[in-house]
Symmetry: C2
Subunit: 446 residues, 2 copies
């Protein structure tokens, strides 16, 4: 039997293409506007996506390097994920709502509380994408000069997640008796005080929010690094995997599922959903035109800014000439990845920055709906993915294309639902209710 | 000419009366339910209130003292203010949305960002009630054993507010040019980096949210303590004042307005809005019945828990007998306030805890709509208040009474608006757009 896929929609900024805001049909102010996101979320809900997803950084990561590039970037102003998704919870009824929150510059009590609240507000549709913060730009907004080292970040993240999960178990599902006659608001045996005391956090609890309608909010993880994969294997419900070619993806998939099993969990209960950025046309040529149109809108300074961190300032070189060896000794050791890519694919400077600007690490697919569905089906059947995080190049137009062309094709093939069968995000993903650490009922009484 | 009053609605939990959840017409699960708050906010908007307001604590402050009291308290589970008000922003269109956030266990970047986002989501209706956290219960959720001392809390709060205001000035109102042809997303001269480095915080900025539609969100303060009054005089747009008798209130009002003027601000630009908890009947006797009905629903253990912190455990004494001198030496020095009140008003133990349970520090008014309007008018005319923060004993019923009976009475007297004249909370309050610290335009281009 064909496995059904899960679909997420990534909707940060105005889509994944750096020049999306310049597209003639895109509203450049959309990322600061609730109406834009309401339209996107409703489109995704009409197409029965499992969830919408908001990536996040706590600050503006882009630097003005080379000078003059920052003012060309739309990745400078946006709405904050938890406030935005709470508003969208009121404007949608079925679709899951996944927001990113960093474990590096937050406190677990705040995160547990806000996501528990979003989960109740949305009737069991909340998810938390667990990340660590790695940029100096963010560190400098939180009393530091530079970001925490990798090991400390992930050690803190692992403990952070444990505390949050513990706080979410504060109340049994049937704790609130609301017995007006007896004057008993809750059953004291069904309230649990966490009393966590660890290396990074000391958190007493209990949480002041009733249990989640889905037991606890869904946990999402990038699962890219070694430490990230361990957190994912132990706790995550969904992972946004990274590999772009199917062989690497299959190896990653099998390895992560083994880790899940090794932690005593059912491997089917972790959904691996790699990101794809689809350019869709009625013909392959039309899809390519859509790709080229956006690429032509990447201003040179902005394009060069995506190379700056790894290759230094390439402003002096012809954009349509070969990618030079960097002169700057600071970057020579980290330039190799991009340089190897440029040499292998024989890319000019413009072509090199365009490959970054077009998808920011998401896998780019250019073709007809049937071709894109073929590719997705192949990844499903060969166990490289359990679903996909769709990262349209521009919003809402890229989502409209996907919903109108690819979703019906996936449905015809029996790969994707035709309607929602569940009320919660956990239900859409087909995941069981998690057990409370106290072995007590997890279903809320209301 | 009669001054028009401002009206806020305080809607935490199920109203200000401790036994509200046991009232036959109240939904005991309402404080965990978006639908309850949506009904309350829409009622308040239909009555053209300036704003709804959510008090907050980051944890459950109530203790199980005497044992068995905590499970009788509805002040144990609720939705988190910022997520809740973001959802309500999508379900309302005119009313202001004021959420409390503590300066003690938060970071200014998070607070600046979330309120800026709520402000954009709501089209300029956000307000921040600035508080410090004073309970050990909250401290223990944030890596501490006990709460910070008063001086440190307020010093931190003052710097926190300055950083937040600075971050809100990151973008001029017309910074985003969105010039697709030229490829210029924003004008770099209109982006300001804060670079704050102070005693408690080092925050570089800029904020990653565009400027607020109302220049900046409205700032609210309790203004109760000396240090709080200084912060309020320097920065607040609204103060929830404390005094219960009109002479003390007039002195407070005049004093605070003088402090505002001393800081170079127009005293009219700080609105003083004391809290009142109205019990409204067609006759005074009916109003008194409503008061007595709720009071009779305060379970003895719960009632005694409100005396416990100041008077120790009075469980052994007859509830309808006189209030005894506390035996516990730990509380003898702090028991005097309540003891003096009990002696002066000749209160029994039950009557003493009921006066607390009925309003939690809010001023209780029991009478007909005309009597309550008289009282409010008197406070307005004699410059004891610029408006009121209505704290109904139970929700939504207490708000329904107020909207149906008192609001029309206030309108007949020309004391309250008959319809909204503005689109933003700042507009409802009649406050001018604040100047940016950079002397640049504050109105957003969109």
């Amino acid at each position: 039997m064909t496995r059904m896929m899960s679909l997420g929609l990534s909707m940060r900024y105005l889509g994944y293409h750096a020049a999306a805001w310049r597209h003639p049909e895109v509203d450049p102010g959309g990322a600061s506007d609730l109406a834009h996101f309401a339209e996107v979320a409703r489109l995704a809900e009409a197409a029965t996506f499992d969830m919408v997803f908001l990536a996040d950084g706590i600050g503006i990561r882009a630097k003005d390097e080379p000078a003059g590039s920052l003012c060309q970037s739309a990745q400078t102003a946006e709405l904050e994920p938890l406030t935005l998704l709470s508003a969208l919870a009121a404007l949608t009824s079925r679709i899951g709502l996944v927001a990113t929150a960093s474990t590096t510059y937050n406190e677990p009590f705040h995160v547990a509380r806000k996501y528990a609240s979003l989960d109740r507000i949305s009737g069991g549709r909340a998810g938390w994408n667990i990340v660590t913060s790695w940029s100096d730009a963010e560190a400098q907004n939180f009393n530091r000069d530079s970001h925490l080292d990798y090991a400390t970040r992930y050690e803190r993240a692992a403990e952070f997640v444990e505390v949050v999960k513990g706080l979410w178990d504060s109340w049994d599902g049937d704790a609130f008796r609301h017995d007006k006659a007896a004057g008993v608001f809750f059953d004291p045996a069904k309230l649990h005080v966490l009393n966590h005391a660890g290396k990074h956090f000391k958190v007493k609890g209990p949480l002041s929010v009733a249990r989640s309608p889905q037991g606890r909010p869904i946990l999402v993880q990038a699962g890219a690094s070694e430490a990230g994969m361990e957190i994912a294997a132990g706790s995550a419900d969904v992972v946004y995997a990274v590999p772009h070619d199917i062989d690497t993806a299959r190896t990653y998939y099998a390895g992560l599922k083994r880790r899940v099993a090794a932690q005593g969990r059912d491997p089917a209960h972790l959904k691996i959903m790699p990101g794809i950025t689809p350019f869709i046309g009625r013909t392959e040529a039309e899809a390519r035109e859509k790709y080229d149109l956006l690429n032509a809108l990447v201003a040179p300074e902005l394009g060069l800014s995506y190379l700056y961190g790894q290759m230094g300032d390439l402003s002096g070189h012809p954009l349509d000439g070969p990618v030079p060896e960097p002169n700057d000794p600071k970057v020579r050791s980290i330039a190799q990845n991009l340089l190897t890519l440029a040499r292998r694919e024989d890319l000019t400077i413009r072509q090199l920055y365009t490959t970054i600007a077009a998808g920011f690490g998401s896998r780019i697919l250019i073709g007809t709906a049937a071709q894109i569905a073929d590719e997705m089906q192949d990844w499903m059947e060969r166990e490289a993915a359990d679903g996909f995080n769709i990262c349209p190049p521009a919003l809402p137009i890229g989502l409209r294309d996907f919903a109108a062309e690819v979703v019906p094709e996936l449905r015809r093939r029996g790969l994707f639902r035709t309607d929602y069968a569940a009320a919660t995000l956990r239900g859409h993903l087909g995941l069981p209710m998690p057990a409370s650490r106290y072995g007590t009922p997890v279903m809320p009484s209301r």
